[in-house]
Amino acid sequence: MMAFKLAIRNLIGAGLRTWLNVIVLSFAFVVIIWHKGILDGWDRQARTDMISWEAGGGQYWQQNYDPLDPFTLSDSHAPVTGKLQKMVENGTLTPILITQGTIYPSGRMLSILLKGIDPAQKILAIPSALLDTTSGTIPAIIGTSMAASSKLKAGDLVTLRWRDRNGAFDATEIRIAGVFKTNVPTVDGSQIWLPLSQLQKMMLMNGEATVIVSKQKNDSFPEVAGWKVKDQDFLLADMNNIIKSKTAGGMVLWGILMMLALLAIFDTQVLAIFRRQKEIGMYIAMGMTKRQVVALFTTEGAMHAVLATLLGAVYGIPLLALQAIKGISFPVSGSDYGISMAERLYPHYGIRLIIITVLIVMIATTIVSYWPARKIAKMKPTDALRGKIQ
């Protein structure tokens, strides 16, 4: 208690020197939390977007389906029957049929994926209701990325050519019924969404699908012959790996910030041992044990972290809260680089993140404060009083 009281007095009395250290340390605090908050916010946002636009609560994949191998697509379809059919009917699953095709926008030829989706589905965020039209032409929807690369826009007609299950080529005109904006590039680039029943008819694959998306996350999907269960964790694995690599990169920045902040504290403490020798001698002459003096200096150093937390809270909380509400705008969309990333990112500052950061900084500050303070224990009080120690 006495060390605490004296440490407070010494810190307040030291004035600008204390505040400079505290400002540097609080800046490190806030930037560490801010940076981690962005990664966490991105993580959450990307997960939410991936789940709502593509992964759902998990999926059934037709056993031959391999999204990384387009040559498997011709064999990756099977009828949705039995309990799967029942779950589709009660709205807990929605089937998607995936095949290949070619479009000819503005005289160019583009190979694309054709994806059939039920216009009435509510499981994925894809605006499939736009496909629910009675006009004569087959309606299609595309994402903004696809619209940009194909130079198509809502209302445009484009020729589509495909090859049905028997290998026969066919072609028709489709009309772009809508262009949707998504942060998930894997439901946007090089693909066109059509009404499921229409695509099944075109492909001669009535009642068939390639993947079936579940509404609810389920740890134990019922096994169905001919279909492989892919749970949500599997479907989000790629994105999690990207986030993980970003987090690792973030650790480097975190380390640099911590080093800078702790260097300031360490420097102050080392200087204090030399500059405050007579004071240390006086403490011992007055009856403090060396252990108490070491405790005082360590507490002084550690108090920097406490003051930095308070100062960081004063300007950090409003600043970070504002960003969490308003979000941070990014000039280039992450989806241009194939990453699920919104143009406006909303950082997420969890209580766990804040507590862990505060604890780490406090522990690290205490350690770097104690380290030079140990030198006091080796001082002869008579030398300290005369300021003789080098």
Binding site: M282, A285, P381
Partner: protein, 233 residues
């Protein structure tokens, strides 16, 4: 050993390592000090005054012989015990004041009482009393940098006296002061010595101090050259 003496020094020697050899700062000192003395240890630089004061103050230990302070042999005390002796029974006054620059006058004087764990209200009373003894009640919130040398030394006296120790050790207390301030603080210490029977031991070669003390112990080359009592009217 005569237990009536406050301090007993027996055959005290103190050596310091110097290169490959050693330097003998104190070479067989035998002295006793009694309660209420106002004594000066006088000698030129290097005569061993400060070393003797440091040993009496349990800041250093004898190389040979004994220094018994209030019944405790300084050389035999552990770190905690010697810290306790300093904390409870000894007050120090230094040539360069050694005040805490970032603390106020009040806080500097309060410091020894914090170490003793004295409760707040009593502490406040004791600090105010001490500041009154040295005539600094109007400077309680000043910091040392705002005070003159004489005022700083008066703060140091108040800090040394606030816990009413048995012994105050003053190492060249007037060395940094002009004549007027020197006389002022010496009169203050003389009064405190009279009022509380506190034993004052000075290490000095200042003639002004020598004029006030009642016992003069002359050190030369680490030995007592002369020990005389002064009868004051």
């Amino acid at each position: 050993m005569n237990s009536d003496h406050l301090i007993t020094i027996q055959h005290l020697k103190k050596h310091f390592a110097m290169g490959s050899g050693k330097f003998t700062a104190l070479n067989g000192i035998d002295l006793t000090f009694d309660k209420g003395e106002f004594t000066g240890i006088i000698g030129p630089s290097g005569s061993g005054k400060t070393t003797l004061l440091n040993i009496i103050g349990s800041l250093d230990v004898p190389s040979e012989g004994k220094a018994i302070v209030m019944g405790k042999s300084v050389g035999d005390l552990g770190a905690r015990e010697s810290a306790f002796l300093r904390k409870t029974q000894l007050g120090f006054i230094f040539q360069s004041y050694n005040l805490l620059q970032v603390h106020t006058v009040y806080e500097n004087v309060e410091f020894p009482l914090l170490l003793l764990g004295i409760e707040s209200a009593k502490r406040k009373q004791m600090v105010n009393d001490a500041l009154e003894w040295v005539g600094l009640t109007d400077k309680t919130n000043s910091r040392p940098a705002q005070l003159s040398g004489g005022e700083c030394q008066r703060v140091a006296i108040a800090r040394a006296m606030v816990k009413k120790p048995e012994i105050v050790l003053a190492d060249e207390p007037t060395a940094n002061l002009d004549a007027a301030n020197s006389h002022h603080i010496l009169q203050t210490m003389e009064k405190l010595n009279r009022d509380f029977s506190t034993t004052f031991i000075f290490a000095t070669h200042d003639e002004k101090v020598i004029g006030y003390i009642r016992r003069k112990i002359y050190l030369e080359d680490g030995k007592v050259a002369k020990d005389e009592m002064i009868q004051k009217s």
